[in-house]
């Protein structure tokens, strides 16, 4: 396509939007609400996931060994566990460390207690591996696997916490994905309608263009420009809104519910927007493209 033709298509596309202002604004409005919700969900999900990860890292599984298992066997068990995909971290706690931790937690004067046993470790069979998982929903299955390993005496895990966190995480994710998908479909439908109206209004012009010998692409280009511009404008407005809202809301929550801050840290705006800006603009432009391509394909055959 020539530069002059490209510019012509852009001018015509923008003219279409102006000529068809009410419907264009309706389409832009829908995309704005769709991507605004998308942006909100995204902020919530990213923060929720960070909180989950923080939480998941505190949910650990402890693996204890049979009496009399050699250090070599323990190392081998560790290597076996480490090979599993589910494992996030794996730390060895020796019997001495376990005793020291226990003493620190239970006695007012831990050193005195340790000294009282005179080097004899009451928890001498309590060496263990502490494991955190990448995804808590796999925990039950993974615990079964651990129990099946030779040399493993006992596996401790907090199942209730794990199940609850995993379930909540999935429910929130699926619900938000569902709502966003519905809104995306509504946006495509509205863009398609707007462009259909544009095509109807310009039917005579399109008919003449085709008879004169305009290529399919040239006839379609202004409508594709129209769709893309609607999508782009529709994606920029919510980005600007969310950008100014995010810090304010975070400050408000922290100020109001100080307990939140002790549980997890909010993801900084910069980090969120480094993903949200290209993602949102991409979705907006994509919606415009899909809407206009589908419509022009249907209505503008040579």
């Amino acid at each position: 396509m020539r530069i002059s033709s490209f510019m012509y298509s852009i001018r015509q596309g923008i003219k279409n939007i102006k000529r068809n202002l009410l419907f264009s604004l309706a389409s832009i409005g829908t995309i704005v609400s769709c991507l605004f919700l998308f942006g909100l969900f995204y902020c919530v999900i990213v923060n929720f996931r960070t909180a989950m990860t923080d939480l998941e890292n505190t949910v650990t599984i402890s693996v204890f060994f049979d009496e009399g298992v050699t250090d070599e066997n323990i190392t081998m068990i560790g290597q076996q566990i480490r090979l599993r995909d589910e494992v996030n971290t794996l730390d060895f706690i020796s019997a001495d460390e376990a005793w020291k931790q226990y003493a620190e937690e239970k006695f007012d004067d831990p050193q005195a207690a340790i000294d009282a046993f005179q080097g004899d470790n009451p928890l001498k069979n309590s060496a263990s591996y502490k494991i955190t998982l990448k995804d808590l929903s796999n925990q039950a299955e993974f615990v079964q696997y651990l129990k099946g390993l030779t040399g493993v005496r006992k596996v401790l895990s907090s199942e209730v916490t794990a199940d609850g966190v995993a379930a909540l995480n999935s429910v929130v994710s699926y619900a938000s994905i569902g709502i966003i998908v519905i809104l995306l479909l509504v946006s495509i439908f509205l863009i398609s309608n707007t462009i259909t109206i544009g095509i109807t209004v310009r039917k005579e012009e399109i008919g003449i263009m085709k008879l004169i010998g305009a290529t399919n692409f040239f006839v379609r280009a202004p409508f594709i420009v129209e769709g893309v511009v609607i999508g782009l404008v529709g994606s920029l407005i919510p980005l600007i809104l969310i950008y100014y809202m995010y810090d304010t809301v975070v400050q408000y929550i922290i100020g109001r519910f100080s307990v939140v801050q002790s549980l997890f840290a909010f993801v900084p705006a910069k980090e969120i927007f480094s993903v949200l800006i290209p993602l949102s603009a991409g979705i907006g432009i994509g919606l415009g493209l899909i809407g206009s391509l589908l419509t022009t394909r249907k209505h503008l055959k040579v």
């Binding site: 002059s4 005579e204 008919g207 010998g213 290529t215 040579v302």
Partner: protein, 229 residues
């Protein structure tokens, strides 16, 4: 330049043929009238030549291109070789005379520097150089048809199809348009005029092909209008 052999055309919902076994050949540089009453198949013929329709059977060849072998994406290429003028002008009402003619060049992606040169030249040819800023509704019927003619000619087509070009015009303006078509023909463009303007057909002494109920009933050099009644 234009060739139809044994072309039959039946619309999906219809029992009768709009064109029935039509064969004709028009050479490069000819000026031909196609006449016939309404329902004789003239409009169908124009649509077939523009490849707006495909025939039920038979072969159509325009400017050395066999339509049965023409790929969809190449349709615009053949249409650029054909200029068309309609009875109702079909000008874009929201654009000036200049823009209407320039439009024809824009849509086939002519560089702007050519457009700036060729559009005024074409408007001068049809005698509307001083009205380039006017909108169609500010012009008379004859002037509007001249704008349409300028638009059809600006891309230098090999063939000019005129579908009832004088249908909406008074005799004086009709003659002006016919004179312009004759000039265009003298410069080498093949001109095909579909009409039922008896007076013009009889006066101009050109080749006349007469259609009736979808069939050619006469094809005469220097012919006249055949009254079917």
């Amino acid at each position: 330049m234009l060739e139809l052999s044994h072309v039959k055309m039946r619309y999906p919902a219809s029992k009768t043929y709009a064109l029935n076994d039509v064969s004709l050949k028009i050479e490069k540089g000819e000026f031909v009238f196609i006449v016939g009453s309404s329902g004789s198949g003239k409009t169908t013929l124009i649509k077939l030549l523009l490849k707006e329709l495909d025939p039920t059977s038979g072969k159509i060849k325009v400017a050395d291109t066999d339509y049965s072998k023409l790929k969809r994406k190449n349709i615009p290429k053949i249409r650029r070789k054909i200029g068309v003028v309609f009875q109702n002008f079909r000008l874009l009402k929201d654009r000036t005379v200049y823009e209407n003619v320039a439009f024809a060049q824009r849509v086939i992606e002519t560089p702007s520097r050519y457009i700036r040169r060729q559009v005024p030249a074409m408007l001068t040819l049809v005698g509307l150089a001083d009205k380039y800023k006017s909108f169609p509704k500010q012009l008379s019927g004859g002037e509007q048809q001249r704008v349409a003619l300028a638009r059809a000619l600006v891309n230098k087509p090999e063939i000019l199809l005129a579908d009832e070009p004088t249908g909406n015009l008074d005799p004086k303006n009709s003659w002006e348009i016919m004179r312009l078509l004759e000039d265009v023909n003298k410069k080498g463009t093949t001109v095909v005029v579909v009409t039922h303007n008896k007076e013009i057909v009889n006066m101009m002494k050109k080749r006349v092909i007469t259609l009736k109920h979808g069939e050619i009933i006469s094809d005469e050099q220097k012919g006249g209008y055949i009254d079917e009644d």
